[in-house]
């Protein structure tokens, strides 16, 4: 968003070319409903954009989704009632929002709407003075609801918005101009949120809740102005038909086209290197953020000349993790995820796969490039690296779930120690997520064979789990220390066969151990698959296949798993 400095605190004047009836002095019930419909529509449009601003790994889901659902519930409360008076409408809205509040941001939104309603107990129509009072009341009720109000959030934005409305009221402006000023003040406050909350600044975003409030105000204004052009009925809302006018994001005046981000490893570090870079780059664009230490600096700037920025950065040292995005295209697509510096490469890598919204995404935990490739070929959208020695955290799952553009997610933890954090993650996210209790990668591979997008997610989970019931997974590794277990005396370097977490046998060479396992566990299964690890090779694996001849297995397949620790993982099914 680009703000002109001279608009800072001066109320806008009425534009000359607007017809008279577009600049009313009062709002009646039907106008208010148009405004609220406009807000609902615009909030829906912006839902994923607001979601992408989430920087805190909060457990209450996505701000945009929560705010939209709360607002939708509020609006649904108007259904079937023919209300013509402002006070009737606002009190129904407030009640609907109260009942439908979802998540932290939803509860705050419900309080804002309650405040707005409280200010209008007696009013059948709204004039500018009342409108200003309503915005003020909304903000102060919202502030009341928390023990420690934090500045740099939706609360700050709401309070500044009220200031804009009050100033307009003092200057006797009409409704449209008042709303414009309210919006303008809210936008300015929103732009400043990164200054107030370091976490926002670090991520290079504005506050998501605050953005939501700005969207609502903007939607209200558009609903008022466009009410003759657009029918904001349910059908249109569902189809998400855009009005004929400009696209919303374009109104944000893209003075600078390219969002440019990079990291600089500074060569000659001096004390005020950050300051110096900031000063210099300020000439080339806006939304400038320069953060970091004396040795590494992260730069984020919106500019029309990314080349010059990069040249300048090169003079300071070596550069990496460069991202240049065309914001015009971004604004058109509006669903680009928010990219943080550290995630850039990951996201880029996966971009091709996650671009399209698909009905169902799959996330699997795996170690070893062979397994990763196999799983990806079977349709896994995202591999989280992890396994025995490196259990991914709940947060890793939550991040991955959010990253994948799918409505439903299937998680394959592939290790019994990881199942619980996957389940935890599933309970924290908004998306419908099922956790398959796979405890090894062969189980994941077997279960993916029956993956299906057409049946219910949890039915599918049962179906997939059924598929792995009869699967046996045997893992072969070398002992690293002496131990006595299950009656075996194990010396370092011994080969051990593990089945269901139990040591099944041990010996001095792979072939003997594997034959012994087969003696104990092979019960005429039709398919045996051998995945060899990073510390062995295909030739050796083929030797083992050869030695299994006497069991006359119908089919033995050998694949590269590339896993660490286990030289072989063998599945029988």
């Amino acid at each position: 968003m680009v703000m002109k400095a001279n608009e800072e605190s001066k109320p806008q004047n009425q534009s000359n070319d607007s017809p008279k009836d577009q600049n009313p002095k009062q709002i009646d019930g039907s106008m208010l409903i148009s405004m609220l419909r406009g807000a609902q529509w615009y909030l829906k449009e912006s839902e994923s954009h607001i979601n992408s601003l989430n920087v805190f790994p909060v457990p209450d889901g996505d701000t945009g989704t929560n705010m939209y659902h709360t607002f939708k519930e509020a609006m649904n409360n108007l259904d079937g009632k023919s209300l013509s008076k402002v006070n009737q409408i606002t009190s129904q809205i407030a009640r609907g929002a109260l009942m439908g509040a979802r998540g932290n941001s939803g509860v705050i939104l419900s309080q804002l709407l309650r405040g707005f309603s409280e200010a209008n107990k007696e009013n059948e129509i709204l004039d500018v003075e009342q409108l200003a009072k309503s915005f003020r009341r909304a903000a102060s009720v919202a502030y009341n609801g928390v023990m420690k109000p934090v500045e740099g959030t939706i609360l700050t934005v709401a309070s500044k918005a009220a200031e804009g409305a009050e100033l307009s009221s003092e200057n006797n402006l009409d409704i449209v101009n008042t709303l414009q000023n309210t919006l303008e003040f809210a936008k300015q406050a929103l732009e400043k949120t990164p200054e107030q909350l370091p976490a926002l600044k670090e991520a290079g975003v504005v506050d998501a809740g605050g953005k939501g409030y700005v969207i609502i105000l903007e939607g209200m204004l558009r609903g008022l102005q466009d009410k003759d052009d657009i029918e904001f009925d349910e059908e249109i809302l569902q189809k998400e038909v855009k009005p004929e006018k400009e696209k919303p994001e374009k109104e944000e005046e893209l003075t600078y086209m390219y969002d440019t981000q990079l990291l600089i490893d500074i060569e000659d570090s001096s004390n005020n290197v950050l300051e110096k870079i900031r000063e210099e780059l300020n000439n080339y664009g806006d939304s400038l953020i320069v953060v970091g230490s004396e040795s590494t600096v992260k730069v984020h700037v919106h500019t029309n000349h990314p080349g010059i920025v990069l040249e300048y950065a090169l003079q300071q040292g070596s550069i990496k993790d460069i991202v240049v995005e065309n914001m015009q295209l971004q604004a058109d697509k509006k669903t680009e995820p928010n990219i943080k510096a550290t995630e850039v490469s990951d996201i880029q890598k996966n971009k091709d796969k996650v671009k399209e919204i698909k009905p169902r995404g799959i996330i699997a935990v795996a170690q070893g490039e062979g397994f990763s490739t196999i799983l990806q070929e079977l349709g896994v959208d995202k591999i989280i690296s992890g396994g025995n020695t490196n259990n991914p955290s709940t947060n890793d799952f939550v991040k991955a779930i959010k990253e994948i553009k799918a409505r439903e997610i299937m998680l394959l933890p592939n290790n019994k120690n990881i199942v619980s954090s996957a389940e935890q993650a599933a309970s924290l996210v908004d998306k419908k997520t099922a956790v398959l209790s796979t405890t090894s990668i062969p189980e994941a591979i077997a279960s993916l064979m029956v993956f299906d997008e057409d049946i219910d997610l949890f039915e599918l989970k049962d179906k997939m789990e059924k598929e792995i019931e009869d699967l046996k997974t045997i893992q072969i590794t070398e002992a690293v220390k002496e131990s006595k277990i299950n009656g075996f005396e194990i010396k370092p370097g011994d080969i051990i066969g593990v089945y269901n977490d139990d040591i099944l046998c041990c010996g001095e060479n792979y072939v003997d151990v594997i034959l012994e396992i087969f003696e104990k566990k092979y019960e005429g299964e039709e398919l045996v698959t051998i995945y060899f690890g990073e510390n062995t090779d295909r030739e050796h694996a083929l030797n083992i296949k050869e030695s299994l001849k006497e069991y006359s297995v119908p089919e033995i397949e050998v694949y590269k798993g590339g896993q660490p620790i286990y030289s072989y993982i063998i599945s029988l099914e």
Binding site: L98, M99, V146
Partner: protein
């Protein structure tokens, strides 16, 4: 009893007061919660506690591998109390898992009072 982990190199203990304090701070960040209520309720009055007495409003129980919490809170009038309580449970569970690494088995939220905001 405090929460304790042991491995070959040593052990980590976290006093239950610490768990309580972190839970309290996390809860306070939730919108809709305007105070903690004292657990000593013999006189039947919910007492609004200041920040320094925060932990009086909550009880922490630590056993072998699980933590149970009880929070006595006061909420703002006009909020969706169920949603606020749900947010608090989510936030506290998440924060403890994230910053302390303890799994919270159970969080009981007792809403002991409703504060009617100051009329402006």
């Amino acid at each position: 009893m405090e929460k304790m982990w042991t491995n070959e190199e040593g052990s980590i203990t976290i006093a239950k007061e610490v768990i309580g304090q972190i839970a309290g701070m996390a809860a306070m960040e939730c919108y809709g919660l305007v105070g903690m209520a004292s657990r000593n309720m013999q006189d039947g009055l919910a007492e609004l506690l200041g920040q320094e007495n925060l932990t009086k409003g909550l009880a922490v129980k630590v056993s072998e591998d699980k933590v149970e919490l009880e929070l006595n809170i006061i909420v703002e009038y006009g909020t969706n109390i169920h949603e606020v309580a749900q947010n608090i449970i989510d936030k506290v569970t998440y924060t403890l898992k994230d910053s302390v690494g303890v799994e919270v088995e159970k969080v009981d939220v007792n809403v002991q009072g409703v504060r009617v905001g100051n009329e402006s």
